[in-house]
Amino acid sequence: MKQCDLVIVGGGPAGLAAAIAAKKNGINDILIVERDEKLGGILNQCIHNGFGLHTFHEELTGPEYAYRFIQMAEELEIPYMTGSMVLDITPEKKLTVINRTEGVMEIQAKSVILAMGCRERPRGALNIPGYRPMGIYSAGTAQRLVNVDGFLPGKEVVILGSGDIGLIMARRMTLEGAKVKVVAELMPYSGGLKRNIVQCLDDFGIPLKLSHTVVEIKGKQKLEGVTLARVDEHNRPIPGTEEYYACDTLLLSCGLIPENELSREMGIAMNPVTNGPVVDESLETSIPGVFVCGNVLHVHDLVDFVSEEAAVAGRNAADYIRGNMEEKKSQGIPVETEGGIRYSVPSVVEPERMHEPVKVRFRVGNVYTNCYISLYLDDIRIQRKKRQIVTPGEMEEMVLKKEFFQEYGRPEKIRIVLEQAKQDDREVNGNE
């Protein structure tokens, strides 16, 4: 059986950055396993610009951002295998991999980094009533058809969901000559970036209907049209508000789900809120030596943060392989979230294993204005940040430093709390 120090599952932005960091930290025996025909992952189909502002201080398109990392990986001579799929990983880190040329092979790894990314929520998970005609695509499928394969899926389009991919595709389909009639969003706010609402919808006069959903799909073989209706505060359609839109294409941009089939089969402990593995400060899962990063851990909005997070996983995997990682002596300190914050990654922290400050990333479950995000060790407030607004679409972060624990001692729990600021408290965003 082939032996390998570090196997990285997935050659997208997370897998590439993790591999580069591991290599720079002294690990030479690395293998990236990528399912697609080339490295780069989903970035290859994200041909719009806006990537890399944090990492490279310039605005790149998706393929350009991916290429920077592919180039680095090639310069570092990191081995990779494309067109290859990992079918199974055992808790002992034995991987079963399949491809067209070598068939099925087994690889025993010392450490594994999971970087499989995420998948779009499909129609079947959305409970849209009506027939199942052709012409209904997830926004990302349409993106691949248009940008990589060069096919326009339809001419008259309705988009359900105002996530960033849906907004980007509204502009993309318009530029390709399709008529995008409307974008409907179930929630009373959009999950997409303001910049995308302005530059993808407003620039082209495409209406955004908040608190609306699809209640009927017309067409047996081919999609003929959809009916939208307004929803009430419980997301139930309001009778009498129905509007019919004739269309040949319905794009769905209704959320992303981390792709964790392999992790679950390995028996890794999962976080039901993120649908990703439970991780500690080292981004290590419940199985020692198995690390995770990127959208398979939790869905990100910015690739820059994926790359940064993946580099942490890569460095820690290198430490693990070289025997430089302290064994877990305790369960670690739980990170609890309060006041509307839905989750945090990591959700447990062992200060003794912290070699660098740990970025705790989290999301809120609703839109909140004029508030503070505070970090507590038990009941002692260590830090707070003012926010004019926090929204579910924008990930927030707090930095945990080892000094906090040296100064205040080991707490029972670390708490990240969203707190309302006083009405007249109008200072601008910033740290305190």
Binding site: I47, E59, L175, K194, V198, G393
Partner: protein, 117 residues
Amino acid sequence: MSNRILTCIGCPMGCTLQVEMDGQIVKSVTGNTCKRGDTYARKEVTDPTRIVTTTVRLKNGGVVSVKTKEDIPKGKILECVKELKQLVVEGPVKIGQVVLENTAGTGIPVVATSFSK
């Protein structure tokens, strides 16, 4: 005097900005919560620009992704895209390669953002 209403893209607040104009001169910006809103509004009403990203056809089939090397006036987006729709380039195309010297009379070139076969 005329008024323009914009949504600020500086942060998720998305402040609704009212811009009072006298011809091409900005008289006032209101509705913004911070300075970024003011800066954005002044640029957006006097000189709105965008980087355009799309694909161009390859002679042997398929497409390659491209972008305008710099941002071009917002009013030129559709002309630029129309021009690029007519264009057929011969592969293999390299990332960064110029596929069109001057788009929509802006003097700005269009470059490939990926590799093609």
